[in-house]
């Protein structure tokens, strides 16, 4: 009897080992494929150099190590999943438990802000540029998209269009476009115009399309993003066409005793951006925990119930769209006047997807998640670039991002720092309650 039990146990054990070995092969193979895909390309003179260059190169070791690491994580999760989950939950809720006190929390935020203020002073000019163009702008964009996707649950795949509208309206009001405005203003005073134009565009595109549910909205916004880019390319007389617009002035303020001009130095832009990010964070976090934010949650969870509870669904969806659009418009204004050059190619659909990835990675519906997600993911490629072991090449960026997103969706679908509500929704969906279809696929049937 006991011998029988022993063989049964050993059989179970060996079956598990089998699975684990197969999984190890899968992980390593996956990483080899990734190494091959992201390695150098071949050329006419040496057609197999792409293959040999990426597989017989020290960088492959880094990928193999990653594969083994991934396998270790998966295996550990299978063997000690519950314990790990408990620990990780403890770790993740640590801030909430350590910071129940409002004052402690405020102190932590103040410290984070202090770091954000001091950090750029201690990095070189290259990283300062990265901090503005690659990280700061995307943090702001992610915060804005978080309102649309995270709060209201609307899948917007054309978010970059509002960024383009902000940029082009800045170009218009500063007189850089072929068509001239009634009065030319300085780029700083173009801020309200850029925000208002983007917001108006958000309302105009939102009013007819937000009646659609889930997938249809995604398609329409995708189309809208493309339309904006194509219009910018083809409407040569108005937008300057494919060559783009040059000479968008830097912003400057001349008001009473304040005279200040932003020039080529990235630091002042960084601080202007930081000020807006902080303002947006405060305003949106108030918004999240207000009547408006709860109405969004209600709509996201069950549109039919929300409607019959007296919530004007369309109004709140348009509101989310408009707030997201205006945030994007401001980012467009700032970036265009910093670079002082824009072209339609700056506003590809890939960027819309990228921003969505940032939000999902950080944790939908979580402001802190949007900020950290954007900061980490945008910093990551620049970091890789400095480490030759990975042999990072720019065109491979989206392969890496895709891989990260896939791994993220398997292990932590709620994102890096999930919002509490979102996390519950996903948890409930796993138990078959409700639709955690993040993108508001809230079912339309009425029972």
């Amino acid at each position: 009897m006991s011998a029988f039990a022993a063989t049964a146990v050993s059989r179970v054990r060996s079956a598990r080992q089998n699975v684990e070995i197969r999984r190890l092969f899968a992980c390593v193979f996956g990483m080899l494929v990734l190494a091959l895909m992201t390695g150098p390309s071949g050329s006419n003179s040496a057609p197999v150099s792409g293959f040999t260059g990426s597989l017989f190169h020290p960088r492959v070791l880094a990928f193999l190590a990653l594969g083994v690491g991934l396998w270790a994580v998966i295996t550990a999760q299978h063997r000690w999943g519950e314990a790990i989950k408990r620990t990780s939950n403890n770790v993740m809720t640590l801030p909430r438990r350590v910071m129940p006190d409002r004052r402690v929390r405020l102190f932590v935020y103040a410290a984070a802000l202090a770091i954000a203020i001091i950090l750029p002073l201690h990095v070189n000019a290259f990283w300062q540029d990265v901090l503005v163009d690659q990280i700061g702008i995307y943090v702001l964009l992610a915060i804005g998209l978080n309102v649309v996707v995270g709060y209201a649950g609307l899948l917007d795949l054309g978010y970059i269009a509002f960024y383009a509208i902000g940029a082009y309206s800045t170009a218009y009001w500063t007189g850089a476009l072929p068509v001239h405005p009634p009065m030319v203003v300085n780029a700083f005073w173009a801020i309200p115009f850029a925000i208002a134009t983007a917001m108006l565009a958000g309302v105009l595109i939102g009013a007819p399309t937000l009646r659609l549910r889930g997938d249809y909205l995604a398609i329409v916004t995708l189309g809208f993003g493309e339309i904006i880019q194509i219009v910018a390319t083809n409407l040569q007389g108005v937008t300057g066409g494919a060559q783009g617009v040059i000479g968008i002035p830097h912003p400057s303020v001349n008001l009473l005793h304040i005279h200040y001009s932003w020039l080529i130095d990235p630091l002042p832009y960084y601080y202007l951006l930081l000020a807006f990010v902080v303002l947006a964070l405060i305003a949106y976090s108030f918004l999240e925990h207000s009547r408006v934010g709860r109405a969004w949650t209600a709509i996201r969870e069950d549109e039919v119930a929300a409607e019959s509870t007296g919530i004007n669904v369309l109004k709140y969806k348009i509101l989310a769209f408009a707030i997201g659009a205006s945030t994007s418009g401001f980012a467009g204004m700032l970036e265009s006047s910093k670079i002082s050059f824009i072209e339609p190619g700056d506003f590809t659909v890939q960027l819309s997807i990228l921003i969505l990835v940032l939000v999902i990675f950080g944790g939908m519906g979580s402001l802190l998640g949007a900020v950290l997600g954007a900061a980490v993911l945008q910093w990551f490629p620049w970091y890789l670039r400095e480490h030759p072991l990975f042999g990072f090449q720019d065109q491979d960026l989206f392969i890496y991002l895709g891989a990260i997103l896939v791994i993220m969706m398997i292990f932590r679908p709620e994102g890096m720092i999930p919002s509490r509500r979102r996390k519950r929704e996903i948890g409930l969906a796993e138990h078959g309650v409700g639709t955690a279809d993040a993108m508001s696929g809230s079912s339309s049937e009425i029972s």
Binding site: Y284, F286, T297, A305, S308, I311, R421, G434, I446
Partner: protein
């Protein structure tokens, strides 16, 4: 209140709160409601019963602006006594008029706490806009406090105060039903539509629910229109009953009148020659939940 009952037309006279006149609704070839005429007196506890697929939930969906009937009119008389047409109004605007509802399968906001669920109902009557919310103006904070207090009172009323911070999804069935009623009451309705509130509850919860519905009617003065399959509950609660079958009103009257009405007995038990009545029920989408 003196009301005279007209059993054939399912209408009463007197102070009317809602007046359904000749309403017909069909989906393609399926006729869900056929020339339904009924009304309800202010303060009355009226029940609509009928076999599965009789069009009860369809009637609710017409009354709340979810469906728009092809023919007929539905007039709602708010306190001032002015008639407002419901057909053609969107659900949230119907709710603003003072008609709240619960759903056959409860549709709570599952990832939110019981308190937040009720507060969303309460807040639909508040005025804080995005700007006020973003700046957290004094008026916003005042409204927030008022909303908290009212939500707490409502949770108290339905007996869920102690579970205020539990997730809606974690509540037992009976509590979910009561929470849905609290959320609906949060919108300050004059007319409350309850769609099978006792479905899936146990006997003890059923008694609690009956008490609650009576209190909503008596203490809060809310007119209640009740769809229910549990005959014990209907007979003990309703002042008047309207019976629907195949989308038509087939009977109405006091509980005892309806109980002895031969048409009703036939509709429920089937005529002797036509036992498998279920198979002839039109596939009334909403009642089957398979829209």
């Amino acid at each position: 209140m003196t009301t005279t009952v007209d059993t054939t037309a399912a209408t009463v006279s007197g102070d009317i709160i809602v007046d359904v006149d000749n309403v017909s609704l069909s989906f393609g070839g399926v006729k869900s409601l056929v020339e339904v005429t009924l009304n309800q007196a202010r303060g009355e506890l009226l029940s609509v019963i009928g076999p599965n697929g009789a069009g009860k939930t369809c009637l609710f969906n017409c009354l709340t602006g979810v469906y728009h009937p092809q023919a007929g009119s539905i007039n709602f008389y708010a306190n001032e006594g002015r008639a407002t047409q419901i057909v053609g109004r969107k659900p949230h605007r119907v709710n603003r008029l003072g008609i709240a509802r619960t759903f056959q399968t409860s549709r709570l906001f599952n990832a939110l706490t019981a308190f937040e669920n009720v507060k969303i109902g309460v807040e639909s009557r508040q005025h804080t806009g995005p700007v006020g919310a973003m700046l957290r103006l004094p008026r916003t904070r005042k409204e927030e406090r008022e909303g908290d207090a009212r939500a707490a009172r409502l949770l108290d009323f339905v007996g869920l105060r102690s579970r205020a911070n539990e997730l809606a999804s974690a509540l037992p069935y009976g509590a979910r039903r009561r929470l849905e009623i609290a959320r609906a009451l949060g919108t300050s309705p004059q007319l409350l539509l309850l769609d099978e509130p006792a479905a899936g509850t146990n006997p003890a919860e059923k008694i609690e629910l009956a008490t609650l519905i009576r209190r909503v009617n008596n203490e809060l003065g809310v007119t209640v229109l009740l769809i229910e399959h549990d005959m014990g509950l209907v007979m003990s609660l309703a002042e008047r009953i309207i019976v629907l079958n195949f989308g038509r009103v087939i009977a109405s009257g006091t509980p005892s009148e309806v109980q002895h009405n031969p048409d009703v007995i036939e509709a429920y038990l089937g005529a002797p020659a036509d036992e498998e009545d279920d198979h002839h029920v039109p596939p009334d989408a909403p009642d089957d939940g398979a829209e």
